[in-house]
Symmetry: C2
Subunit: 410 residues, 2 copies
């Protein structure tokens, strides 16, 4: 166990420094992928990494690799990374905290004159958020072989601008092929984006894996009718049927407490006029559970409920399951090293499942991977109000530092 | 009781003839107020009324008055009317059936060489629908003193075009002041726009009045949250709270069967993203009942329910009652004459409450007024599928004819 400790104050200050690139009036960050703000923060990161003695290179997906030499540079690098892009009304921590904790690790090692055996690599993956260009986790996905480079290049934003062209425009269409090298291990620190750690007073989440996820699109069709002239028993009200289903979706998730979550987030009512009984409602269900078996059981319950509710409500319902992600588990050794680092540092910690996607989820397909969660305020993320505390981030960065050193010494 | 009978085939043919002005691909009609299609159908009506021997004049609201002389032209005219404008995806009968039944009455009297004692007036009121220019029932409202002419002139469509200017553009800004004369009585035939008559196998509805109506805007505010990382018990899901309220609104209306109707027709979810727990939902409630006392009782139940549901769901709810129409009753003598005409003609008939607004509702404030409903198919209206049958319309026009003659002979 090393005695090294990061400089928490410097880490917090560094995060506040980068928050100026894309700063919003309400104190959040709008730093869409490949925007000018993204270019500015990338230029800043490249400068800082060079100042920290790293070799910086860019691959054809715009991913930034900052390499710090080890004693034996023939070994595969131990990588630390996350992303610097944000949601349109995002916060100062989602993604950024992971990259800048990595930078803090490098700075701490430099100050201590500590050279790892393997080289280290700090990575900023392009387009994790998927707000401007879909799908999300695009560069880590190409690195892990999930997507083709040219599929990514062809992705268009709302204005018809292509990912590939915008990459060139901001000067970050690099020459390295993606992927052109292997990683020995990959560690990512992230704010939890949920309320669990803060509520339980726990500093560190050792992330064991990611929930499986199923998306559904449900269209309920009844009959438009005049709100004044149609007696209640004569109605085939699609909104009333949708309301029943929304409540039943919640009930199904609660039946599988505490790990199941189910959300009706997107609802479109037609014709959506205050004096017309709705003839149709489109809505989505986002369903997540870490256990594939339970997920499939909930899937069956959902389908039965939708069919039965439609029958009872004298409407038709069409259910389409349009997206599936299988549950995944991180590398057991990596998880263990995160747990042990937290334990040795004396931090309260627990295992936790990630409810959200992260670059680490794709990288885990090809590299032994672990993740570290730190608490955030009220579980709020993807929001300008997103917040955490200097001491949480310092603790997380210390766990990251010690996990990397432990992995390097194995 | 006269032996006169309208020509049902001619009436049906006339309606099909006018349906070409603004015809839609699906067989409906898009004849927005003061559009070119509205001008065309007006030109057609003016020609036909002149051909039927009427004096035609236009008032400053664009309302068309076609006057057929009586034996004593110092008497106040007995008027028949409705409107020729439609919803954007409207049908061939809503409004039109009333104007053209009136035209059929005039043609029938002409053929029989029957001269009424009082003069008759066939009226096409401008902008009943309120789709292009708000509010609805605009010209009948100005005629009845509900609105000022200049308020109507200033009403703008989505493109910023003003009612007054568009009236001039299509050549229907007439010279007669509105109002510049009184009516002795006013009768309006309309399709029911609901399913009651058809379902009960009844030909004629003698409309006794209109439901009172209350509109509400309810905003539920919880907390946006990540759909993957926020455990169910930690959520303050505005959509789940809205769903509870939608079901409770329905339950309240059913508690006041059979006359109460309540509709949640307009729903806006924010941020309306499939992987975000909704932080806020805006929705409307349209509440109607013919008895003011019951309407007020339901109002109280609605307010209590919204407050209690918000409390139980850990969200905030703001309720605004933004529109109220008191219940109204048509003139007892006019209602009776409609009932008697149906009875003498041997038509199955019943009293019925109008669930919708009509020009007759405003005219009733200043003129003894009655309305006749005929069945429509499946209660569908404000829809290209809107349909009725030639025999229903013929029956309605016969009741209209005999009601007018009865009123003239009183």
């Amino acid at each position: 166990m090393s005695k090294l400790q990061v400089n928490g104050e410097r880490l917090w200050h560094t995060i506040m420094e980068t928050a100026r690139f894309g700063r919003t009036e309400k104190g959040g960050v709008c730093r869409l992928t490949l925007s000018d703000a993204d270019r500015q923060v990338r230029d800043w990161l490249v400068r800082e990494c060079r100042a920290a003695g790293c070799d910086v290179s860019i691959d054809e997906m715009g991913t930034i690799f900052a390499r710090r030499s080890g004693k034996d540079n023939t070994l595969l690098p131990i990588a630390i990374g996350s992303h610097l892009d944000t949601q349109p009304s995002g916060g100062k921590f989602d993604g950024i905290a992971g990259v800048l904790s990595g930078l803090e690790v490098l700075r701490t090692l430099n100050e201590a004159g500590y050279t790892t055996t393997a080289p280290l690599e700090l990575i900023d993956w392009t387009n994790e958020e998927g707000s401007r260009f879909q799908p999300p986790m695009l560069a880590s996905g190409v690195f892990a072989g999930v997507f083709e480079r040219d599929f990514a290049y062809a992705s268009e934003d709302r204005d018809g601008k292509k990912f590939g062209a915008e990459l060139a425009r901001i000067g970050y269409r690099g020459e390295r092929r993606c992927p052109d090298h292997k990683l020995g291990a990959y560690f990512e620190l992230h704010i939890e984006q949920g309320p669990v750690l803060e509520k339980e007073g726990i500093l560190i989440g050792a992330v064991t894996g990611m929930q499986g996820q199923k998306w559904y699109e449900i269209t309920v069709t009844g009959q438009d009718a005049h709100a004044g002239t149609t007696p209640m028993p004569a109605r085939r009200d699609a909104m009333v049927a949708c309301a029943r289903m929304v409540m039943a979706v919640q009930a199904i998730a609660l039946d599988h407490s505490p790990l199941a979550v189910a959300t009706v987030g997107h609802v479109v009512v037609r014709p959506n006029s205050r004096n017309v009984v709705p003839g149709s409602v489109f809505f989505t269900v986002d369903l997540r559970h870490p256990d594939e078996k339970v997920l499939l059981q909930i899937d069956q319950e959902l389908r039965k409920m939708v069919a039965a509710t439609a029958r009872d409500s004298d409407v038709k319902a069409k259910l389409v399951n349009n997206w599936n992600v299988a549950p995944m588990e991180f590398n057991a050794d990596c998880i263990n090293r995160v747990r042990n680092a937290a334990k040795k540092l004396g931090y309260r910690h627990r295992d936790i499942i990630s409810g959200a996607g992260h670059d680490a989820v794709y990288i885990a397909r090809v590299v032994p991977t672990g993740m570290i969660f730190v608490p955030c305020e009220n579980g709020i993320s993807h929001n300008e109000l997103e917040n955490t505390r200097p001491e949480y981030l310092a603790a997380g960065a210390n766990v990251l530092l010690n996990t990397v050193i432990s992995y390097d010494q194995k």
